[in-house]
Symmetry: C2
C-alpha cells in the first residue's frame, strides 16, 4: 500500500490525491508538517517538501508532485490525465506548471503563510495588506481561467486533464483560506462546482486544518 505524507492544506498533495482518486489507486495518509523540518522527513526528502509517497512493501519513494503524477500516469492506464498529441500534452504540462508556480506563488503561498504558518509557528496575526494583494492577484488569475474556459470545455482542451486537477487543487486551498471572490467569475465557478461534486474531491473538502476554519460556502457544490 502507498503512504502519502501530506497535510490537509498542501495544494501539491491535493493534486496528487485527486489524480490517485480518479485513477483508483489506494493510499494511506500520513500527516506531515514540512515547516517542522523533522529529521526523519528530511532523510526521506532532502528538499523537505510534501507530498512524498512511500510504497510500504518495496520502500520505493516518490518525491515532487509532478514526478509522482507522471509516475502514476505511466503505470496506471485508467483515466489518462496527460493524454492526446505531443502538443496537447505540452499544453497540459504548461498549465500544470502555471498553476503550480504562478498561481501557487502569487496566491496560495502568501495565503498559507499569513493565515496558517504565522498562526502555527509565530503565533502572529496575518498581514492584511499581503492578504489583500493575494486576493487581487487571485482575481487576475481567475480572469485568465475564465478566458480559457470560454474557449475550451476544460482548462487544457476538450477533455479533463491534470491541468484541471492542478487548478482545482490550488483554487480549493485558496478558497479554504478565504482568498477567492466568486462574484464575477461564472465560467470558473461552473467548472469548479462540477469538480466539487466528483467523488475524488469529496474527501478533501471534508478535511480541516485545526487552526483555521474555511468560509461557510467552502464545501458546498452550490455556492
Amino acid at each position: 500500500m502507498w503512504q502519502l505524507y501530506q497535510f490537509p492544506l498542501c495544494p501539491f498533495s491535493r493534486k496528487v490525491r485527486l489524480l490517485l482518486g480518479e485513477k483508483g489507486v489506494a493510499y494511506d495518509l500520513i500527516r506531515e508538517s514540512p515547516w517542522q523540518m523533522r529529521d526523519e522527513f528530511l532523510d526521506l526528502n532532502p528538499a523537505g517538501t510534501t507530498p512524498v509517497m512511500v510504497d510500504e512493501d518495496t520502500n520505493a519513494t516518490l518525491i515532487d508532485s509532478q514526478a509522482i503524477c507522471e509516475y502514476f500516469e505511466e503505470t496506471v492506464e485508467r483515466f489518462p490525465l496527460i493524454s492526446g498529441t505531443a502538443a496537447g500534452r505540452a499544453e497540459i504540462r504548461r498549465l500544470v506548471a502555471f498553476f503550480d508556480q504562478s498561481f501557487y506563488g502569487d496566491i496560495v503561498a502568501p495565503l498559507l503563510h499569513e493565515r496558517m504558518k504565522k498562526r502555527l509557528v509565530e503565533r502572529a496575526p496575518p498581514d492584511a495588506r499581503i492578504l489583500r494583494e493575494a486576493m487581487k492577484r487571485a482575481n487576475t488569475h481567475m480572469d485568465y481561467m475564465d478566458y480559457l474556459l470560454d474557449h475550451r470545455s476544460w482548462m487544457a482542451g476538450g477533455t479533463m486533464s491534470l491541468a484541471d486537477i492542478a487548478a482545482a487543487a490550488h483554487v480549493s486551498v485558496a478558497d479554504y483560506l478565504g482568498g477567492i471572490d466568486w462574484s464575477s467569475h461564472e465560467p470558473v465557478k461552473r467548472w469548479y462546482a462540477g469538480f466539487k461534486s466528483r467523488p475524488s474531491f469529496r474527501p478533501l473538502l471534508s478535511e480541516r486544518m485545526e487552526v483555521i476554519a474555511p468560509p461557510a460556502h467552502y464545501e458546498k457544490p452550490d455556492f
Copy 2:
C-alpha cells in the same frame, strides 16, 4: 525551424538548449528579457517567463522548460534523457524539479537578481549579504550533489539524464555570476568538467551577458 526566446543567463533556457543540442534539434535564438514585460511576449506567454519555443512553420508554441523537454523527449528518439523504469524516470524528474526549484530559488534567482537585474533595471549595486548567503547555500547544495555522485555515475543513476542537464544549466549560471566555490567539491567538479567539454555545452559557455563578465575560470574545462 524552431525559435527559442531566451537570454544568455536564463538557466531554464540553458536546460532546453542542452537537451536540444544532445538530441540534434536545430533552432534559432531570439533574445528576450522577461523583466521588460513586452506586450508581444506576454501575448505569447501569459506567465511572462523564458524559455518559450515557437515553430515558425506551424506556429506551435511551447512554454515552460519542463513541458518543452518532455515534448522533445516524446517526439525525438535520439539520446533519451528521461529513460529507464517508471521509478527511474520518477527519480530523474525529482532531481530536475529539485534543481529547477530549490537550486534555482536558493542560489541562482538571488544571484541573478543582485548581479544582473539590479544593474540592468535599478542601476543599483548588489547586496553583499544576499550574495554571501546564496554562496553559502550553493555550498550545501554542492555537498548533496557530491553525495549523489559518490553513489552514482550520473546525478540520477547509471546514465546521463535530464537531471544532469538541469543541474549543469543551473550550476553554469551560478558559476558565471561568481557564486560557486570549487575548492572542496571534487565529485561535482569532475562531473562538471566532463559536461563543459560536451559539444552541446560549448556554445552556451562562449556567450556573454553584456553587463557582467564571468570569472576567468568560467569557460575553461580545466578549472
